[in-house]
């Protein structure tokens, strides 16, 4: 199981507390993890990535293992520690707006 930490607004929207866990088919990538998140929590469709293009929303960032993975390609494998469930995949609302 892959652990995902959502920002507070999206936790409220999905009515979850703490981190969520999802199972992905095949390699753990941004795309497969987000596909699984949206399948489990359909109310999050469009809030993390565009519904048509699947591009990351500008003020959403992806962190894991102390690295910023926001600009990695969607099908790049996530770190082994994320794939194994040892470390969470962090969906972060960027600090912006003053």
């Amino acid at each position: 199981m892959i652990k995902v930490v959502l920002p507070a607004h999206l936790k409220a929207l999905a009515k979850v507390h703490g981190q969520v866990e999802v199972e992905v088919q095949g390699p753990a990538t941004q795309r497969s993890v987000l596909d699984a998140i949206e399948a489990s929590y359909p109310m999050l469709r469009g809030t993390i990535r565009d519904q048509a293009t699947h591009r990351r929303r500008s003020f959403v960032r992806f962190f894991a293992c102390q690295e910023d993975l926001s600009n990695e390609l969607p099908d790049t494998p996530l770190p082994d520690a994320v794939a194994s469930g040892a470390e969470p995949f962090l969906v972060v609302g960027a600090m912006a707006g003053g």
């Binding site: 607004h9 929207l13 469709r45 469009g46 519904q51 959403v60 609302g93 912006a96 707006g97």
Partner: protein, 371 residues
């Protein structure tokens, strides 16, 4: 017992204010969707407990929420607003073409007869409709694909479709208004559209009398007289007596005819209300005095309504969707400010009192009169 429910959209959440018919004591709900921009909340006329809310942020985009219990609980419904067909270009601020891009829903207008049918006016300007309670949204493409659309350009707040009026006499007639394209009318339930801006005069555009390009801020109608429309344009208050075919200025003796909000008394089709704002470069009341102006003659002759409103050091704005009326025998008038106050008058504007003082900046106000 008869009561009133005021639906307030703000920069940081939605609030529901409730009172009995006396409209003296008000309860303010906890914020719904705290931290999110709520551009609009509106109830279905036939099912008052069915509410729709437009929820968005720059971080996480657009959501639509629906309530079936008058706002006690909410469920997110569909939020996929996809332009259909060739997206095309409109003009950008610098005059260059720019592809249509969805930003947010400004206004939700539930059907007058079916609680599951609701219209959404969006930025970049387009009209969507849902017939399943907001789950799926379909664009009414005839508007965005109007031949004039490549010449539409955004106002300062974005190229938003902010006003939707459904004609109670003719289910096929719809009016919309777009900043800064103007007013459009459909007579075939939204399939085809034409601009209805003849008589508007806007000195800020190359041809002041052009068929499109006018920065219409808001339009209003009284349901008993659907051929008469009232408009607060960027500058100028206007009236049409022929369903938008022609417009005449009715600014009359207003101290300034810039403003955003305009609405009509529930029982007097020729009694209208505006909140004059100093100018487009200074978005606050003239002389620091918050004054609602009322005309009982369909415009031209206006009286200032000041009792209970701050008459010094007031520098708030009243946005386009932030005024509404109830339908009690003595019509109540309501408006919200960018300073977070919601003012109400239970006597058609003669006297006012704040019913909320310290909300986030108010984006929209709607009122439901409950049986």
């Amino acid at each position: 017992m008869t009561g009133v429910r005021v639906l307030v959209g703000t920069r940081k959440g939605a609030f529901i204010l409730t009172s009995d018919a006396k409209r003296e004591k008000w309860d303010i709900s906890e914020p719904a969707f705290p931290g999110w921009e709520i551009y609009h909340v509106k109830g279905a006329p036939t099912h008052p407990d069915r509410l729709y809310a437009s929820q968005s942020t720059g971080w996480f985009g657009q959501l639509i929420q629906r309530s079936d219990d008058g706002g006690l609980t909410w469920e997110p419904v569909g939020n996929n607003f996809a332009y259909e067909g060739n997206v095309g270009d409109h003009l950008w601020y610098d005059g260059t073409p720019r592809p249509w891009a969805f930003t947010r829903v400004w206004h939700l207008e539930p059907s007058l007869s079916d609680p599951d049918t609701v219209y959404a006016g969006v930025e970049d300007a387009a009209l969507f409709r849902s017939t399943d309670g907001g789950q799926e949204w379909t664009e009414l493409t005839g508007l965005r694909q109007h031949p004039s659309a490549p010449r539409w350009a955004p106002g300062a707040g974005g190229m938003c479709l902010h006003s939707i009026i459904l004609d109670p006499r003719d289910a096929k007639r719809i009016f919309v208004a777009i900043s800064a394209a103007g007013t459009f009318r459909s007579d075939d339930a939204g399939q085809t559209w034409r601009p209805v801006n003849q008589g508007l005069h806007s000195e800020g555009i190359p041809d002041p009398m052009a068929d499109i390009g006018h920065c219409v801020h808001h339009i209003a109608m009284h349901p008993s007289n659907p051929d008469v429309l009232y408009m607060q344009k960027h500058w100028d208050v206007m009236r049409s007596k022929d369903a938008g075919e022609s417009w005449q200025e009715i600014s009359g003796n207003l101290p300034t005819d810039f403003g955003f909000a305009i609405d009509v008394h529930a029982h007097e089709p020729e009694t209208i209300y505006v909140v004059p704002i100093k100018s487009d470069s200074q978005h606050f009341p003239l002389d620091g005095r918050l004054r609602v102006y009322r005309s009982r003659t369909g415009g031209d002759e206006w009286e200032a309504l000041t009792a209970g409103l701050p008459q010094q050091d007031c520098y708030v704005n009243v946005l386009r969707d932030a005024m509404a009326v109830d339908t009690l025998d003595e019509c109540g008038i309501y408006f919200g400010t960018t300073g977070g106050q919601v003012y109400a008058s239970a006597d058609a504007g003669d006297t006012w009192a704040p019913i909320a003082r310290d909300l986030p900046a108010v984006l929209s106000v709607e009122v439901q009169t409950l049986p």
